[in-house]
Symmetry: C2
Subunit: 604 residues, 2 copies
């Protein structure tokens, strides 16, 4: 089975590792050291070799930081992880703090003494973060020092897992839809238009997209950890561990791309002296900026030039996504059938639920990976937004409870991400009421039509308005971008309350996932993926509008729909979606599943 239920770190890590880190700090003459969650590639998910924060503290969340001083230390997390961090981190060693209330800079300022030296690894921090930390240390009269020799790595020593060396393979044109030469030429032109001679690309997803390659260095995403320099003329240098280079790769990359080992990167940046070089401060650590400025390059701060073209899927990628979602929808429908029938009697635990869904996806025969660890939240676990079943917290489903399952798959032709919330036994009137409010928001966002230039935050309220009217809300975004056999969380667009200036454009895939969470009781989320299209003209319409086409195909939970709360328009929208699910998924599943699906997709 792909998904593990174990945690790879625990609260004994601090006791075992902190003294060794402090020893390494002392050897380097440091009074303190900064340990961010981010690695050299600013990944969301980290290879084990780069999860320094977990090794140092025991904390395994997807965002956080630690500061280790000689005689005290602190771990910083955000609101999602305030419960988890208490389980995982030894509070006799680490003060637990929130990123709000000043976060790391305020703590540094309050704890450092005049003249102290705090080390940091410049490959791990963005320039903005570093600037805030530097100012805070300076206010305390202390100093931040870049160190080549990371004391966590030094302490970790031989126990540290090796860097991943998954083979990097071509991503065929049948899936990519546009040759790398064409992508490099048009991104190169955009560089020239921005007045840049070259760009340093450090996002593994952008490198995968630009060169039409895939790797496997990071679990759940087929990313090749690497760096590249793209020139405005479309030529490029790709810095990739030779152990990862598969035999067919050099020919696939062609003669406009030179393949070089990672050790050649510093000299390559040095050689950009005198050129104007674009670097994305949200994607690239301070190390790149310092190296380029040191070489005499003119550094232009700007968005990764691959981010927007990568987000706008081409027709081949959209076709692939449709196939992937049909395949995945059939697997999910088999799972939903199982939950609606057998599981109502056997009352499985979350582990069995995760395993069953993975089994149906594995049966497709073409599953490359999950796109993230399945969230199966039974009853009160469903109310923990970032819940992942691990051995000591696993629950069984019980009659009268809800089961929230958020999952996805990586296929060569596309990445899926879907959430369904199901009733076990008889749901309460409150559950039906709340589910229907969530569904109304999901439907409103799904049927939205909007002019060019509209950003995600401008549409976010459409998904929340029914909940807001009832005095309810959810504390997460409504929609994130999704890659094409790449990361399941992909920018630059985003549908959320928080600021995002990127207009939605045709071909962008986004999730549509409003929710409602009642702490200690149950969680509800309804999530489909959808992509931006040019909307069909309406009679009497005067302006071209954009709209969404739904990719995800699986029935909504009718036992949770309070039909009387839907308008005629909403009811027709659910019925039309269900008719489409039956038409597209019905032929792909077994007769007993199909018979169940017919009922699940009957008009409300």
């Amino acid at each position: 089975m792909r998904q593990s239920f174990d945690e790879h770190a625990d609260s004994s890590f601090g006791q075992r590792h902190l003294p060794r880190i402090r020893q390494a700090m002392a050897e380097l003459g440091l009074d303190g050291f900064l340990v961010p969650h981010e690695d050299e590639h600013q990944n969301e998910y980290l290879p084990a070799a780069n999860d320094r924060l977990a090794w140092a503290t025991g904390f395994t969340g997807s965002a956080g930081a630690a500061v280790i001083l000689k005689d005290k230390a602190a771990v910083f997390v955000d609101g999602r992880y305030t419960l988890q961090v208490k389980d995982q981190v030894d509070q006799s060693l680490f003060e637990l703090r929130d990123f709000v209330d000043g976060g790391v800079p305020a703590w540094l300022e309050s704890q450092l003494a005049r003249g102290q030296k705090v080390g940091f690894d410049p490959r791990l921090h963005s320039p903005e973060t570093l600037e805030r930390l530097r100012s805070a240390a300076a206010r305390a009269g202390a100093e931040l020092l870049p160190v080549q020799d990371n004391p966590v790595d030094r302490a970790w020593g031989a126990e540290r897992p090796p860097q991943p060396k998954a083979p990097v393979t071509p991503h065929p044109l049948d899936y990519a839809g546009e040759a790398s030469a064409s992508k490099r030429a048009r991104v190169g032109r955009s560089l020239a238009e921005a007045g840049a001679d070259a760009a340093v690309i450090t996002s593994p997803a952008s490198i995968a997209w630009l060169f039409n390659i895939r790797g496997g260095d990071v679990i759940r995403s087929p990313l090749p950890l690497s760096q590249a320099v793209l020139n405005a003329d479309g030529t490029a240098r790709l810095f990739l561990d030779p152990d990862k280079v598969t035999p067919e790769l050099p020919a696939w990359l062609g003669n406009q791309v030179t393949l070089e080992p990672p050790e050649a990167l510093p000299a390559a940046l040095e050689s950009l002296g005198g050129k104007r070089v674009l670097v994305d401060p949200a994607q690239s650590s301070a190390w790149y900026f310092e190296a380029l400025e040191g070489s005499g390059a003119g550094v232009l701060h700007g968005q990764d030039p691959c981010a927007l073209p990568r987000a706008c899927k081409n027709p081949t990628e959209i076709e692939g996504a449709k196939h992937a979602h049909q395949r995945d929808g059939a697997a999910l429908t088999r799972f939903l059938h199982w939950v609606a029938t057998d599981a109502q009697e056997t009352l499985p635990d979350e582990r069995e639920i995760v395993a069953r869904l993975e089994h149906f996806r594995e049966q497709t025969g073409v599953l490359k990976d999950l796109s993230f660890d399945t969230i199966a939240g039974a009853g009160s676990n469903g109310a923990i937004v970032h819940y992942r079943p691990t051995t000591h917290k696993i629950r069984k489903v019980e009659p009268g409870e809800l089961l929230l399952v958020d999952s996805g798959a990586q296929y060569l032709d596309g990445t899926t991400d879907v959430t369904r919330t199901m009733a076990i036994g008889e749901p309460s009137a409150e559950m039906r009421h709340r589910y229907t409010l969530v569904l109304k928001g999901h439907l409103a966002l799904g049927r939205a039509r909007f002019p060019q230039g509209t950003t995600g935050p401008m549409l976010d309220a459409l998904a929340r308005a029914p909940l807001w009217a009832a005095g309810l809300d959810y504390d997460h975004g409504t929609g994130h971008g999704v890659g094409s056999y790449l990361g399941v969380h992909e920018g630059p667009q985003r549908i959320a309350k928080t600021d995002n200036k990127v207009a939605l454009r045709p071909g962008m895939i986004v999730s549509n996932e409003p929710g409602y969470y009642k702490t200690g009781a149950y969680g509800i989320r309804v999530e489909n993926l959808q992509f931006v299209t040019e909307a069909a003209d309406v009679a009497g319409g005067e302006r071209k509008m954009l709209g969404f086409e739904t990719l995800t195909l699986a029935p909504h939970e009718r036992a949770l729909i309070e039909v009387g709360m839907l308008t005629a328009e909403e009811r027709a929208q659910v019925d039309a979606y269900h008719a489409r699910v039956l038409t597209e998924i019905g032929p792909l599943v077994e007769p007993d599943v199909r018979a169940w699906l017919e009922g699940a997709c009957a008009p409300l």
Copy 2:
């Protein structure tokens, strides 16, 4: 009558005035001069003495700019004014250009020759604008020079109207609701919290609010043109022309406020050397920044510290607004009754329509001013968003047409702003369809409930979604802030597509005015004012929500409502609003008007 139908400038102005300005430029050794629309106070509406752009070019729109070079000149306007500028500006003298496509900076860069000197009046430009203009000139090898002696003013000479000297009077506590000393103390505390010793306040509206005074220097808004320095301890210096000081004013201001002539301002800024001084770069021209930096002050760029407290009306101001809107609603209802009865037969022109509405408002006996020139757009004139009837374009209403009337009044207890669209004769099915879409958006925004932290742009789509679904939209914002016997357009909040980071807070008054415009045919807009409240709890609700309470009281045009397009919720919302209008306005109007109102407010 208060409203005039004449333009105060025309296309002969360029022919008459441009040579005189060029003569003045030559005397000052300038190759060019920048003429923005803004005046020394960054007002939206200008006193005639400060409308330099109109005097130089003939253009009277509310936004624009001109550049005058030795042998060519250009006028820049935005999309609202592309038709009007052609009527008003002599194209043999001025190139007409749009603010998009690079605007003034791009034109400067393309037209200036190396070594040329272009003058600007530093009192009229914001620091940001100036920086862009400076860079553009520098790219052409030219230079921008600040000039004390504005060549437009020099050329205007004795013909220039005098600066307005309207008396400045106390705004009593019965209307203001909070003593100036209290306002100064709390704004002063906010300065201290922001690390400032003082703030320079240059917005006349902020000065009016802070000192509880009103003036009359600018038509349609009771603004006292003046400047102030507020210290963190709540003391202040107010720079006001002695001719405007009324006898009761010094005692009203009290001994913590020193009253000084405008000539004392430069020395006052000089005396702030060594202090940390907050100035708003969106409200204050470059002159202030240069004066303060020259004096050795530490300049903090930040929002006018009065803007947010001024926007959040206190209970007295909200009570006042309710009274003002009842009074104004009765006047408007008499007008709507007249349109629905007599005017259907007599088919008046826009001038008679404007006069009739002004007459009903004048009859209240307490009208201080209109809050802006009434927009009465009959038929195709209704499709011109910023239309104002002037002699040569006035139309009569005709059967089968729509009449759009956007108007407002200034009363001591509040400022109103309301739009109603009425049918003359029998409206077409298309008109009813479009009106109902606009009304649906207006209703959705009006009933919105939303959590703290929600900004205007996050709600904007609620008002547009019904139009977007039909392939339609409108090219203006949805809601602006409104002052309390102050400007009818007031920040910092705004409901629009464009970026605005100010969260809506209880007490803020905003307009709710979606529209639809069919060029050459008709315009539709429905506008009420509403204020932000803490929404009543809903059964089962878990979070405090904010919402809106409607201030404006006047019936919607039922002849234009296609009832079948409304949901049950929307229909109930219209009926409840109409019931309230009848209850509150019915007792205030004459029997024949009340009889008509009963029909107009009957359930749909």
